[in-house]
């Protein structure tokens, strides 16, 4: 009995983790604290050594601190935070409204387009969602848009930020599974655009069939003369295009590492904010504060998850995962893949991408690396599979931002919308978009080249 408990401590570890997470105590402390607790129990059972805790430091050091790739994370967070407050968004939305004013659901479509463009300039979701809600919701309410459509559009457009590169989620997953960040950024471009096009198609169809949900803009909106029109287009599109070329162009062109591109992008965002007169000392301090808090949140979970994954593995967790998969009858690549996807989708109802990536990926990484998908993925071996898998995870995790009761996006939104919009509106509003995302995921499963074509083309997958 005692020997059996000793061998299955990793199972108890997992169960206690699940329970403790739901007490509402910060995830990072729960991960670390439970790992320490079970390490101590493991010592009592003779399956763990006190000195093994020493491994925490080299792991944190090598995995988190002395890791040039991860420097991209704070820099992208900083860039996104600066951009959010730089005033670039308002001009862009206005220009897009003018451009789409004759299309059914034009205002909603301009929000999706704006989400797509902003996603290509920032790597975080929080910034995009708050920014989109602040600039896009008031005009939609003013025009008498159906509330569900308005919030659904904004929430879905905002979450594109995490999929369309640059994205800190891709940086972290690439780091965990040892796939180059450039490859992942290239692989995420087409899936991101695909989702954006699916959203647009849905909005356009719905507004065409039910004009009441999306009243058109008055025709007199927009510039009086052609000259004024082009000035407006220039003023609103040049800054984001400048940043996208600066960041993504330099990565795909092979001139800069993602970390360098992030640093240069942050400098670019600072210049734009300064140019728009939004860079006072007070504003900069508050940008720094907000970026630093987000950054600390990400890396503290990294800290806790590193210790947790280590203790889980030391207590024999890897073998148990393999055993469980076998007991469930999952042994082919497709079965394991679909199982992990389903698991991530369900976890997405309760957790954010950070916890899911950092807890689930290390546990399944050994199994995943052994999967051979053969002809479905074409040439290239395991790295191609991992790149495809990470993109599938990203699209899947994007859904986790939108699924109640715990979607990051929904909470960001709730904090920003006027009281006349309730949580029920938000929940109803996101349902069609979650369904669209799942359709996108299915398309990617069926046609991996959607993701893999671009990185192959740029020469990242050879």
């Amino acid at each position: 009995m005692i020997a059996w408990v000793g061998q299955h401590l990793s199972v108890f570890l997992f169960v206690l983790l699940a329970v403790a997470l739901f007490t509402g105590y910060p995830v990072a402390f729960v991960l670390g604290g439970i790992a320490i607790f079970f390490g101590a129990i493991g010592i009592a059972f003779g399956v763990f050594e006190p000195m093994m805790f020493f491994n925490l430091l080299p792991r944190v050091w090598g995995g988190i601190a002395a890791n040039p790739i991860l420097v991209a994370v704070p820099m992208f967070i900083f860039m996104g935070t600066v951009l959010e407050r730089s005033g670039v968004a308002n001009d862009l939305l206005h220009a897009l409204q003018v451009l789409t004013r004759r299309v059914p659901g034009g205002l909603a479509m301009s929000v999706t387009l704006m989400g797509t463009i902003m996603a290509a300039t920032t790597g975080i979701v929080g910034a995009s969602v708050v920014m989109l809600t602040l600039v896009a919701l008031p005009p939609m309410m003013q025009r008498g848009y159906q509330k569900e459509l308005a919030v659904g559009t904004i929430a879905s457009a905002g979450t594109l930020g995490i999929l369309i590169p640059p994205s800190i989620m891709l940086v972290i997953m690439g780091d965990l599974l040892q796939v180059s960040v450039g490859t992942l950024f290239a692989a995420a471009v087409m899936p991101g655009l695909l989702l954006s096009i699916l959203y647009l198609a849905y909005i356009c169809t719905l507004s065409f069939l039910k004009p009441g949900v999306a009243p058109p803009l008055p025709p007199e909106i927009g510039p009086k003369s052609a000259r004024e029109f082009w000035v407006m287009i220039g003023k609103s599109f040049v800054p984001p295009t400048f940043l996208i070329v600066l960041v993504l162009g330099s990565i795909f062109g092979g001139w800069a590492t993602p970390t360098e591109a992030a640093g240069v992008g942050a400098a670019g965002a600072l210049v734009l904010a300064w140019f728009n007169g939004k860079l006072s000392l007070k504003a900069l301090n508050s940008m720094i504060e907000s970026a630093a808090l987000t950054n600390a949140l990400v890396f503290f979970i990294f800290f806790g998850a590193t210790l947790f994954a280590f203790v889980f593995r030391a207590l024999g967790g890897d073998d148990i995962v393999t055993e469980v998969l076998k007991a469930l009858g999952l042994d082919t690549g497709w079965e394991i893949l679909l199982f992990v996807m389903a698991l991530v989708f369900v976890l997405g109802f309760f957790f954010d991408w950070i916890e899911i990536c950092l807890i689930v990926l290390p546990i399944f990484a050994p199994v995943l690396k052994g999967i051979d998908f053969g002809p479905h993925l074409g040439e290239g071996g395991v790295i191609v599979f991992l790149a495809w898998f990470i993109i599938l995870m990203s699209v899947n995790l994007q859904t986790s931002f939108l699924t109640p009761p715990f979607g990051f996006t929904l909470f960001y939104m709730k904090g920003t919308v006027p009281p006349s919009i309730t949580m029920a509106h938000i929940y109803r509003g996101i349902v069609p978009f979650v369904i669209i995302q799942m359709a996108g995921l299915a398309l990617l499963l069926a046609a991996p080249e959607l993701a893999l074509w671009l990185p192959r083309k740029v020469g990242f997958l050879q």
Partner: protein, 188 residues
Amino acid sequence: MDRLLWASKAIERLLHAISMAAGWLFVVCTVVILFDVLTRKFGYQIPQMGSTRLQELEWHLHTALFCFWLGTAYIRNAHVRIDILVANTAPRRLAWIEFIGVLGLALPYCLVAIYFSYDFFHTAWRFNEYSDSATGLPWRWIPKGMISIGLILLLAAVVSVGLRLAVYLWGPQRLRAAAAFPGAKAGR
């Protein structure tokens, strides 16, 4: 009890000041990256400040950036919580959960991590550890020490929150409002 609350707030102010100063490393890091990219592009490198050194400096700065904010992020309630099941829990019970978390999870975690991080730092200090690369930066104990300092600041934050909770749970009624703790507001 007034003194406990005073101590808790003093720790907070100190942490806030340290963190805000460290936050400027975002700007420093941006400048370092920009400088590295530009000098490499134009093929001109200042002696003793080559690309290897600059790139090592970048992750030294990154380490400082997150380490110096771990504690402040706890006090400011920025760390992620899964609070759907406790969204409607009474404040007093939330305070108990938080207090048990502080004693049972956060404190042991901090203490174990600090103990081993000191070891880690001390080894680097004693052997005057150098970068793995011949052209890299000396004084590896500085970034390694920053992890220790970050964890100590985190411990300070945990103690500060613990003091607040003690005041909230056992202090007089009049101090309750002033002793609001992170996690008191459900939802984010």
